[in-house]
């Protein structure tokens, strides 16, 4: 039920992000989604790739600190209120969101929300209970 995400530690130095994209491009890895969290001193790049293992290996070989975590991918209707419907579930179930990011699929039919909760299992149960579609890893990686 969960999607594998690659997270990379980044110092706030110019050019670092481009080095990551360059390594992945050379290795033929396609990026499905990404987000960058930044603080004054460092950043964390989170990305979902078509091939998690390959992305991880390439980045590690290039000296980056890499971690793989699982996120929950939820489909949101691509219209006003689409996001709200999902966040109401999150709120009612008192789920604690560590972070989230979103992107819209090519088809334009639905948006995709990627969540990291402190309790992922509980979150999956809450979404399922509310009839919200959760995408499998395979679906997201091969989009």
């Amino acid at each position: 039920m969960q999607v594998q995400q690659v997270a990379v530690f980044l110092e706030n130095k110019s050019g670092r992000l481009a080095e990551i994209s360059h390594c992945l491009a050379e290795g033929g890895v396609n990026i499905r989604a990404l987000s960058l969290a930044d603080t004054a001193d460092f950043g964390i790049l989170r990305l979902v790739a078509d091939n998690t293992d390959k992305a991880r290996t390439i980045l590690k070989e290039n000296g980056f600190t890499v971690g793989v975590t699982e996120v929950v991918a939820v489909a949101a209707e691509d219209r006003p209120g689409g996001l709200d419907k999902i966040l109401q579930v999150v709120s009612k179930a008192s789920l604690n969101v560590e972070y989230m990011y979103a992107f819209t699929q090519k088809s334009g039919e639905s948006g995709l929300l990627l969540f990291r909760f402190d309790n992922q299992e509980q979150a999956i149960a809450a979404f399922t209970g509310a009839g919200i579609r959760i995408l499998s890893g395979e679906e997201v990686h091969s989009m």
Binding site: Q5, A7, F9, L10, E11, R16, A37, T39, D41, F42, I44, R46, G63, F64, T65, V66, G67, T69, E98, Y99, R116
Partner: protein, 433 residues
């Protein structure tokens, strides 16, 4: 003014005679009373009777901080505790604190060394001495205090901290002489500016500063901002405390070593062979008159040289330039001794952090700042910002708790800290001292 004209202006031939006879009796005394010293001398194949000239000192074994630690707390005292009237100790941040003791006569001698130092700085009994060195186990406060009393000054034992009150007291009590660390002095200057106090409203005319390395540039700044003369003083608790050497106000160029009580040597920093006068190496001291806690060839780890010319002030004692370097990797940050190994231990205790780190020291304005760069390994990496921030905060807190200094923790990518072939370059000291 010269406090003890007879001693401080003694011709060198005479001084050498005084030094030799004091050295001989000191060596005899430690051999007879301290089993540890006796063993070391026996192992080195030297007996007190072998010391026939000052050059024979090189036959004696060195004493290091390690020896002091091994004999914690009183193992190197030459007298029973009933004859000891004062005990001081280092803060012990690097492990076992080093403990030193003084007999009544030692305290009297120390007071004289400080009175000589004050006199060299142009202080007289009419002065009001504002003593902002810390009182307590640290030798600075009480050491300076007794010297100023010996001279007959009115002493304000204010100790460190509470800067606003310090300035109010300076104004109200008419302090004329300030004793403090140079970095705290600049702090006081800042506080004055904040309070809108113009230094010309004060009666301060001279300051005697020590306990940490400071530069000529810092001297100029202190002199300009406080409108005083700034005099450098040197000392270390293992040898005495403040008053081992001091600058004269006439020249402000090199510190006169109280050679009739402390015999200086400069040794090669690698081979430890004695070097000719004038060459640069590690400064080594033998105390010639101390009773409770004498040291024989104590390695200070300070890099220094001896200046043999007779000074225009009339003192015949050798001078030493300002100490700005160390043979070990000890850093003095805002008056606190810091060894990279201590930071390393803290990092190792923070679970999972492999201690690949670097310490960057800078002087921002007047204050030293320390940044610890820590490489983020996969074991500690998290995709959540708050977890990494907490890691940095924990390291920072542990450094503050153990060393008492504030630092900045910078998490960096693996392999970004330069690897060296031999000994790791742990410290980048960008301060211009």
């Amino acid at each position: 003014m010269i406090w003890n004209e007879q001693a401080e202006t003694m011709p060198r031939e005479e001084l050498v005679k005084v030094q030799l006879s004091r050295l001989q009796s000191q060596v005899e005394r430690v051999y007879a009373t301290v089993p540890y010293y006796r063993q070391k001398m026996d192992d080195a194949g030297v007996a007190p009777g072998d010391i026939k000239s000052l050059q024979d000192i090189r036959r004696l074994p060195f004493t290091t901080k390690e020896d002091l630690r091994k004999n914690y707390p009183f193992g190197l005292f030459t007298v029973p505790l009933e004859r000891v009237v004062r005990i001081h100790a280092s803060s012990g941040t690097t492990g076992q604190p080093t403990v030193v003791g003084y007999t009544r006569r030692d305290i009297k001698m120390w007071a004289e060394m400080m009175a000589r130092s004050l006199a060299a700085a142009g202080v007289t009994r009419k002065d009001v001495v504002h003593n902002a060195y810390g009182y307590g186990l640290f030798t600075g406060g009480l050491g300076a205090h007794y010297g100023a009393e010996e001279m007959g000054c009115a002493v304000i034992p204010i100790s460190g901290g509470n800067s606003k009150r310090q300035i109010t007291i300076m104004k109200d009590f008419g302090s004329t002489v300030l004793l403090a660390t140079p970095s705290y002095t600049l702090n006081l200057a800042d506080t004055m500016a904040d309070m809108g106090v113009d230094p010309s409203e004060l009666k301060l005319r001279v300051g005697i500063f020590g306990a940490e390395p400071w530069s000529e540039q810092m001297r100029q700044e202190i002199e300009k901002r406080l409108q005083i003369k700034a005099i450098d003083i040197y000392g270390l608790s293992e040898v005495l405390g403040p008053g081992v050497a001091v600058e004269c106000i006439e020249e402000q160029k090199g510190l006169h070593i109280m050679e009739d009580h402390f015999l200086p040597e400069i040794v090669d920093r690698d081979t430890f062979e004695p070097l000719p006068v004038g060459e640069k190496g590690e400064l080594v001291f033998t105390t010639l008159t101390k009773e409770a806690f004498p040291v024989i060839r104590y390695r200070t780890k300070d890099i220094c040289q001896l200046i043999p010319d007779v000074c225009t002030c009339g003192r015949t004692f050798y001078r030493m330039p300002k100490v700005t370097g160390r043979t070990d990797d000890m850093l003095i940050i805002r008056g606190v001794n810091v060894f990279p190994s201590q930071i390393e231990e803290i990092l190792m205790k923070v679970e999972g952090v492999e201690p690949h780190y670097q310490i960057v020291v800078e002087r921002e304005g007047n204050l030293d700042s320390i940044e610890v760069q820590v490489e983020v390994s996969e074991d500690v990496f998290s995709d959540e910002v708050k977890i990494l921030e907490k890691l940095a905060a924990t390291i920072r807190t542990n450094i503050k708790d153990l060393l008492g200094i504030s630092s900045r923790i910078k998490l960096v990518e693996p392999k970004t800290i330069q690897r060296s072939e031999g000994k790791a370059q742990r410290v980048i000291d960008k301060r211009k001292i």
